[in-house]
C-alpha cells in the first residue's frame, strides 16, 4: 500500500514538473500521451471493467469533438464551456446506438462497434446534415481560455490536459471502488451469475457505455481546442485500435496499467522516430505475444482493499 502511494506521488510530481525540463516538442508529445491516456481510461470503463469488447470508441470522441467545433465556430460559444455539452451529446449517442446491441456476445459486439465507428466516419466525410464540413473537416476553432487566461502554447495545454487527466483518475478510482464498479467486474466475470445475484446486467452495461462516451466526448472538446482544426481522419478505426491496444496491453481494468499503456504506445514511438513505420508492426506482434504469455496485461488490476473490523473477520471461524 505504502509503495504504491510513493510511486504515485513521484509520478505525479514528475508529471507536474515535466514542462520545465522539456522543450516544446516533447511537451506536445506528452500532451498527446495525456489525451490518449484519458481516452483509454474512458474506454477502460467499458472494455476493462465491464469486459465489453468495444472497438468504436473513436466514434464517441468524434461526436464530442465535432459538437464542440460546430457550436464554437457557428455560435462562438467559448470552447471549454462546451465540454459538458459535448459530453452529454456523446453520451446520448452512445445510449441510442448501444441500446439495441448491448446484449450481443463479445466478438459480435466487437464487430458491430467497428461498424458504428466506420458509419460515423463515413457520415462525417459525407458532410452529414451539412454540418461537418466533409472530408476537410472544420477549422477556425478558437483557443480556450481559463478565467481570462488564454491557452495557446503547448505548455499551457499541458496543464489543461493533465489537470483533466488527474481529475479523471481521481473520479475513476472512486468509481472503481464502489457498488457500480464492482457490478461491472461481476458482469465481466460471469454474466449469468451476476444476473442471478440480482444485478441488472443490460442496464449497467449501458451505463458503462454512456459514462465512457461522456468522457470521450469531453476529451474530444479539448482535442478540438488544441488542434483548432478537426477532420474525419482523426477519428478513424485505427484510432479505436490504438485505444483498444493501450487498454489491453497496459492491463484491462487497471488505471495505472492503462496510463502506462498510453506512455508506451504514444510516447515511446517518439523515441524511435526513424523506425516509425515499424511501430504498428511491433504493436501487432506485441499483442499476439502478450495474449500468449501475459494475457492480463503489463500491470494487472491490484486487489481491492476493504476495511473490515477484526471482530467481524473472526465471525464464523470454527
Amino acid at each position: 500500500m505504502k509503495n504504491t502511494t510513493i510511486i504515485f506521488g513521484i509520478s505525479a510530481l514528475a508529471i507536474a514538473c515535466a514542462p520545465f525540463a522539456l522543450n516544446t516538442y516533447w511537451v506536445d508529445v506528452l500532451n498527446n500521451v495525456g489525451l490518449y491516456a484519458i481516452l483509454a481510461l474512458s474506454l477502460n470503463i467499458i472494455l476493462g471493467h465491464a469486459g465489453l469488447f468495444h472497438m468504436g470508441h473513436a466514434a464517441f470522441y468524434a461526436i464530442g469533438a465535432y459538437t464542440a467545433a460546430i457550436l464554437n465556430t457557428t455560435y462562438g460559444v467559448p470552447i471549454l464551456w462546451l465540454m459538458p455539452v459535448a459530453g452529454v451529446l456523446a453520451g446520448l449517442f452512445a445510449l441510442v446506438v448501444a441500446r439495441p446491441i448491448i446484449h450481443l456476445r463479445g466478438d459480435y459486439l466487437l464487430i458491430v462497434t467497428i461498424g458504428i465507428v466506420e458509419i460515423v466516419r463515413i457520415a462525417l466525410i459525407n458532410n452529414v446534415f451539412d454540418l461537418t464540413g466533409g472530408a476537410n473537416g472544420i477549422f477556425g476553432i478558437s483557443r480556450p481560455s481559463v478565467f481570462g487566461f488564454k491557452i495557446t502554447k503547448p505548455q499551457h495545454f499541458y496543464y489543461l490536459i493533465w489537470g483533466f487527466a488527474a481529475a479523471t483518475i481521481f473520479l475513476l478510482l472512486r468509481l472503481e471502488h464502489s457498488r457500480f464498479g464492482r457490478a461491472l467486474l461481476y458482469i465481466k466475470e460471469d454474466e449469468v451469475a451476476a444476473g442471478g445475484s440480482g444485478i441488472n446486467v443490460p442496464q449497467l452495461k449501458l451505463i458503462a457505455f454512456v459514462i465512457g462516451a461522456v468522457w470521450a466526448g469531453m476529451t474530444g472538446t479539448i482535442y478540438a481546442a488544441k488542434m483548432t482544426i478537426i477532420a474525419p481522419e482523426s477519428f478513424s478505426f485505427a484510432e479505436s485500435v490504438v485505444l483498444f491496444t493501450i487498454v489491453i496491453l497496459g492491463g484491462s481494468g487497471s488505471i495505472p496499467g492503462v496510463i502506462l499503456g498510453a506512455f508506451l504506445l504514444v510516447g515511446l514511438p517518439e523515441l524511435f522516430r526513424g523506425l516509425a513505420e515499424y511501430r504498428m508492426m511491433v504493436f501487432g506482434a506485441a499483442m499476439v505475444l502478450m495474449m500468449i504469455f501475459r494475457n492480463q496485461g503489463l500491470v494487472p488490476p491490484a486487489p481491492k482493499h476493504y476495511a473490515i473490523k477484526p471482530d467481524l473477520r473472526a465471525g464464523g471461524a470454527q
Binding site: E118, E277, M280, G284, M287, I292
Partner: protein
Amino acid sequence: MEEFFQQLTNGLAVGGIYALIALGYTMVYGVMKLINFAHGDLFTIGAYLGLTLLLSFGLFDKIGPLAAVGVLAIMVMILVAIIGALLERVAYKPLRRSPRLTAVVSALGASIFFQNTIMAIYSPKFLVYPHDILPKMAVNILGLDVPIIRILMFLTSLALMAALYFFIQKTKIGTAIRAAAIDQGAAKLMGINVDRVIMLVFCIGPALGGAAGLMVGLYYGQVNFSMGWMYGLKAFTAAILGGIGNIPGAMVGGLLLGVIEALGAAYISIAWKDAIAFCVLILILIVRPTGLLGERVAEKV
C-alpha cells in the same frame, strides 16, 4: 433497366469475392468459435503475392492469359495456405485453452502485424496490376454487354465454392471437419485428430481468401495494403448474413451482400456505399443474429 442488370452482374461478381473470403471466416468460426480478424489480411497477401509472381515470371507471355491465371491462382493459394497454417500455429494454437476473447485480441494483433508488414515491404501506396493481361471483351447476354472478366470471376467463385462444398459434404476429411465443428470433444473421442482438422481449416480458408485477393487485383487493377480490412469486414458481414459457421450460408450471404451493395450504391448513394454493408451487419445482428440459414442454439445455464 440496363443499369439495373449491369449493377446486378457487378454485384454478383463482387459478391463472389465476398463469398470466397466469407468461407474462411465461417469455417474457422465453425470449428474454433473464433473470428479470425487476420483473415482479411490473408486476402491482401494473396493480392500482393499474385502481383509479385505475375511480374517476376512473365507467365502471360509464355502460356497465354487463361492458363497463366490458373497457374498463378494455384501458386497464390498454396502460399497463402501456408501463411494461414503458420498464423494458426503461432497466434492461435497456444491460446486454445485460454478465454475466447484472448484469441480475438491475438487475431487483431496478427491483423495489425500483417497489414504493417505488407506496408513495410511494398510501400503504403496503391500498386497497379498490369492491365491488358486479360481480354477486355464483353459478352452479350440477353442484349446486354457484360465484361468477360466479370463472368469469369463469378464462374471461378462458383467453381471454388462447389469444390469446397463437395469436399466438405462427400469426403472423409470433410466429414471430420463437420464433426469437429459440432463437438470438438466428441470428435476427439471418435478418433478424429482435431489439431489436424484445425490446421486444414486454416489452409483451406486462407487459400480461398488468397484466390479472392488475386481476383480483386485482376478485376480492379490495383491493390493497397489496407484493402483487406474493408473486404474482410464485408465478407464477415456476409458470413453473419448467411449464418456464421454455415458454409452454404456464407456463399448465399456473400452473393446477396454483393448485390445489395451494388444496387444500394447505384440507387441510394455512391458516397454511402461502404456504410450500406455495415448497416446490413448491424441490422442482421439485432434482428436475427443467427443469420438467414443459421439455427438458434439455446445457451446453457
